[in-house]
Each structure stands twice: as structure tokens, then as C-alpha cells.
Amino acid sequence: MPSNKSVSDAPITQFINCRILRDNELQREDLWVREGRILDPEKLFFDEQGYADKRVDCGGSIIAPGFIDVQINGGYGIDFSQASEDVSDGVSFVAKKILEHGVTSFCPTLVTSPPEVYHKVLPQVKVHDGGPHGAGVLGFHLEGPFISAEKKGAHPEKYLRTFKSGGLEHLMEVYGSLDDVAIVTLAPELPGSQSVVRELSQRGITVSLGEHRVLLLVSESVSVQPGRFHALSNPSVSAVVQFHHRDPGIVGLLTSDRIPAGRAVYYGMIADGIHTNPAALRIAHRAHPSGLVLVTDAITAMGLPPGRHTLGQQVIEIQGLHAYVAGTKTLSGSIATMDMCVRHFKQASGCSVQEALEAASLHPAQLLGISPKKGKLDYGSDADLVLLDEGLNVKATYISGEEVWRKGQ
């Protein structure tokens, strides 16, 4: 008999004995959930005279909004950029596995590829909600091919492109469709990029500025274009951070005073302890803490056991948290999981528990413009939750108020 049913019949779950991340702090409050969303218990009490059907004792755990990974290239042997027939199965497989890392929503990421790959892969996966089957897909993150040759990093040079005249049409030719795309990473210094950025933003797609060693002025003028949020993607920032007092580059953008009110700058960081120097993490965090978005940028080898693995055309050797091109000491990419990144970020930057958790939940949601539905535990937010212990290890994951993973099961 949960309520006088004036609003809803649906069962109500009350999470007790927990600390919840709300209003930028950990509060000792119960968390109430009904019909997949966070419920206001005061309204329930006074308006509906209701109370919980079911109580979940969290044993003192921390409850944070589920983590959101906006840059993940694959994992468990799956490579999202492979033009196979069963991309959907591959994405689903990874989606299910990353529940163990506390990730409840993600953007499958495609690295620079030829048009055939995009035309084959993109139509196979639609934006969809998560559940017991796996984390929700928020849309693809297309990282390339419109990035600059100078900063290509691991992207194959032969597929890099510039915008031919008629910017957006050209982009559409390459990608085929933008229906289920959440983020596009491109290089703002490419001629023709400004109109493309504007058009993409108008379609609700988040534009991310790819690596560039360009003067502050150009990157700033792009970031202040009409459009929602602009992220800085820096998959290899450890090689790149060049802070010169006359050319502050990306680092300068973090504290720019030319960002118009209502806009924000976000920047992705891989906090696996390998790809980003802890000092760089600390500087970026202190310069602009509310813009830091933790990403895994995980490659196909993430989640695989130590040893050698043949993945597509490459042979990778996994040793601990390092994935090398087999037989060399060249890093082939990041294999840290999101929860590892959260723990490492907290330890390396010395930030608080709240800040570490927000970097993996609130900030990515704000970047994509889906907050407060996602990334927050406000009344009405989706009940995508991660239960963590003191050490920020994942104990259980919930999507829409339903338990989808529990440690030890």
C-alpha cells in the first residue's frame, strides 16, 4: 500500500543507509526511485501520503549518478571502427561489460576511417536507453577524419580530410548520416570549419576541437561560435601540452575570459596514469575544475587479460595497465576502465570524492546537453546509479532504478 495512488501506482524503492552525490556534495540522505526516475519523497509524503514498497540497504555506500563515457573506441576484443556485419552485437557486448565499471551511458567512438566504414557502421546502431542488457548508447562520437595532419596521433594519415567547398555536405558525404551521432571531433583550423561547426551545433551535435597546435585566437573564435558546448579532445595530451607564455595553446583556452556567458568549455582527460602526466591533470583540474570530463578512450584491448592478443591487423601485448604494440614499448592506446580513471584522477589531482565523481558523470552530461536528465541525482533525473565503496570501487550499477550489475554475482 505505497500511496493513495493519486499520482501513480508504480512501486517505489527507497535506498537507505547511503551517501548521495547531490548539489556538489555527498549528503546523508535516502534516495527514492519510482518509474525509473529519482522521486521527491517530500512530495510523495504530503501529496500522495505514500511511502516505499521496497527498501535497499546500501551498507554505507556512496551513490553517484552512473558514469558516462563519451570517448570509448571498443573493448573486450571489439573494435567499433571495424566495418563488420554485426556492429550492433559488438556495441551491445561492450555495453553490457562496461556496467561493471559503473558506466550507464556511452558514446561508441569511431576513429578516422574511410567513408565506406562510416556508411556501413553508423546505420547499424541507434541511440537507445540502457537496461539489464547494457549501458545506454547516447550516439556515436566521430573522431575524425576532419582533423589536422599535424596532430593525427594514432589516426591513419591517408584517411584524414579537409572540408571541400560546401562544408556540411562534404561531411555528410563522408559520414552518410548524422542521425545517431552525438559528438564530432574536428580540427577548427581547417578552412571551412566554422560553418560546419555552426551547422552541427544547430543539429544538437556537440562539436569537439581536435588536437591542434594553433594559436589561441583561432581556437577561441571557433569555441565562441553559436553552439552549445565545445569540448577539447586530447587523446595524447602527454605529448602535446605546449604551454608557451606567448602561445598558451589548449591550456590557455581552459581559463579563457572570452567564453560568452551561458557557454562552457569542457575538456576530456584520460586519467589512466599513463597517457596523462599527473601534473598535467592537476594543472588542468585547478585551472578549470568544472570543465574536466573523464574519458577512457579505451581501445579494443580494454578488458582483455594480460598477454598477447591479435586485434585486427595489430598484435597487442597487455602488461598491467599498459597496452603496447607487441614487441615494442610503443603504447597502442588506453585500456583503463572508467572506474579506474575516477580513482586515479582523485589520487593524482588530490581532488575531493565529489569532484572525481562529477568528472565522470555530471560534466559529460553537461557537455552533451543531457543534464539534469542524466548525470545528476535531482528529482526527476533518470535513476542511473553507481554504488561505490569508500575507495570508489564499484559495488553495483543501476539503470532506470533497476539493478543491472552487482559485484560478486
Binding site: 521527491d40 519523497p41 512530495k43 509524503f45 500522495e48
Partner: protein
């Protein structure tokens, strides 16, 4: 009256909470026999509420068969405003205990017909069998609930305009901005509280000392509405040392001398084997 004087705020809060606990337990409430409790808001009763929550959490006290009636509520303040008395009661008491929502009653300051809401509240009290124990506080101007100076001592639940003193005292809850404080409230009347079987008034702090003096050492006077309880057969004032600063030494010594008797009222009930 009984005047209970404790050393400080915490001890006063605890004494009051134990008294309430014992009253409920002695009454042995059940599904056909609810204990009706009148409740206040404000900073004075916070310590008492915390203690009651503790007793519930320890398993010593249940509110399952307790009905509550709050004294007052602001007019025109949205129910979910953090300073509404609904929010106060939810955050400081109801959400921590096992009380059923349908057993709580707080005046609705946003009702379409305010006087009808007040009349209906009086009827609900009657329907519940009257109030066993009405707990209240005192304003710096000696008012009980929002029965401001000049209120009839036989008044019933109604709409009142708040006095300047009260608005100033409440401004601290509205960022110190006098313009944000509601100017009207719904309140139980002095007569409504007088109808209760027993009345307990909590008074702590030096800023309440003069009001306490006026309430118990001077005559019954509608300018100091708490003085009405001099004519109630069962009134108990629970205060800290600071609140007694304006009283005569003789009064204080007399009542302090009786503490050993009064303390029997708050002894822990004999522990029974827990029923399955």
C-alpha cells in the same frame, strides 16, 4: 505549572524528548487508540526532535500510532519552499521516523479558502479525540504559535497577520531579508491549545528570558499570550538556565528544588522483552 530548569539547551531538549517518549509509551497507542501530539517549529524544538529520532532509531519509540497536529504555517509560501513549515517538519522530523503521512496534519497556507481550512483543522482535532499533549514554544514577544500580542485568549484556529517582532525574528530564515518573510500565517488559537489535555512549552536562550518572566510571573494578559496557560491544569515549562535570567531567584530555587521529583517523569521505562 511545573517549571523544569536544565543547565543548557541540549539537556533541556533531551528532558523534553524523554518526557514525550514516556507519555507516548505510557499511553500504549494502538490501531484504535492513537496518541495525538501537537507540534511546534523553529530552532527551539530542533534538539528535541533530534532526540526523538534517536529514540525511534534505537527501537525505543514508534510513531506508527501517533497523530500529529502542527501549530501553524505561513500563508502564501509554496509548500515545497525550504522555509515552509511543511518542509521543516519533513526534513527535521517526519522523514526520519515511521509516521504515516495520513496521520500528520499541517495547515495549508495555500488553501483557496483560508478560514475554511482553519475550521476544517479544528474539526480534524476533534475527530481525532482532542490533543493529548501539545508541545509549543514561545516568541520573544511572548506569543504561542502565531497568537501575536493582542490575540484573544479564547481564540481558535484562524488567519493572523504577523507582528513586526515576529517578522524580524524570522528574517534569519529568509537570508536576513525582511521583504521575503511572509506577513500572514494560519495558526491554532490560544483556546485551541488550551483544549489539549496537557501543554508543554519549550523555552531556551537568554533572548526568551523576558517573555518567560511575563508569561509566568506576571498576570494573565493577552499581550503575552503564553500567560494563558496559567489557567491550564497541566502545563509544563521546560527551559535552560539562560531562559530563567529574568525570573525571581525565589521562583528558580523553588522549582530547581523539585527536580528530583520531576526527573522521575523522564526515567527510562522498564525494559520489556521485545515482542515478536
Amino acid at each position: 505549572m511545573k517549571l523544569i530548569i536544565l543547565n543548557d539547551y541540549d539537556q533541556a531538549s533531551e528532558w523534553a524528548a524523554k518526557y514525550i517518549r514516556n507519555k507516548i509509551l505510557q499511553f500504549s497507542p494502538g490501531p484504535n487508540k492513537y496518541f495525538t501530539l501537537g507540534l511546534p517549529t523553529g530552532s527551539t524544538p530542533l534538539g528535541c526532535y533530534k532526540k526523538l529520532i534517536e529514540y525511534y532509531k534505537n527501537g525505543d519509540l514508534s510513531f506508527q500510532y501517533v497523530k500529529t497536529f502542527n501549530m501553524d504555517e505561513y500563508v502564501g509560501l509554496p509548500r515545497d519552499h525550504p522555509e515552509s513549515y511543511h518542509s521543516f517538519m519533513w526534513n527535521n522530523f517526519f522523514k526520519h521516523i515511521d509516521i504515516k503521512a495520513e496521520n500528520t496534519h499541517i495547515l495549508d497556507g495555500n488553501a483557496a479558502d483560508l478560514q475554511a481550512e482553519c475550521d476544517s483543522f479544528e474539526k480534524k482535532i476533534t475527530a481525532a479525540g482532542g490533543i493529548q499533549l501539545f508541545v509549543g514554544g514561545i516568541g520573544p514577544d511572548g506569543h504561542i504559535a502565531f497568537n501575536e500580542p493582542g490575540s484573544s485568549l479564547v481564540s481558535r484556529t484562524r488567519v493572523k497577520t504577523l507582528a513586526k517582532d515576529t517578522i524580524m525574528a524570522n528574517a534569519r530564515f529568509f537570508d536576513g531579508d525582511l521583504s521575503k518573510v511572509p506577513t500572514m500565517a494560519l495558526t491554532v488559537g490560544v483556546g485551541t491549545v488550551m483544549d489539549a489535555k496537557e501543554v508543554m512549552i519549550l523555552i531556551t536562550g537568554a533572548h526568551k528570558a523576558f517573555a518567560l518572566y511575563k508569561a509566568i510571573e506576571e498576570g494573565v494578559n493577552h499581550m503575552w499570550t503564553v500567560s494563558a496557560f496559567q489557567q491550564h491544569p497541566q502545563t509544563i515549562f521546560v527551559c535552560d538556565e539562560d531562559a530563567t535570567l529574568e525570573l525571581r531567584v525565589k521562583t528558580v530555587k523553588y522549582f530547581k528544588g523539585m527536580m528530583h521529583v520531576h526527573n522521575k517523569l523522564v526515567e527510562s521505562p522498564p525494559s520489556e522483552p521485545k515482542k515478536n
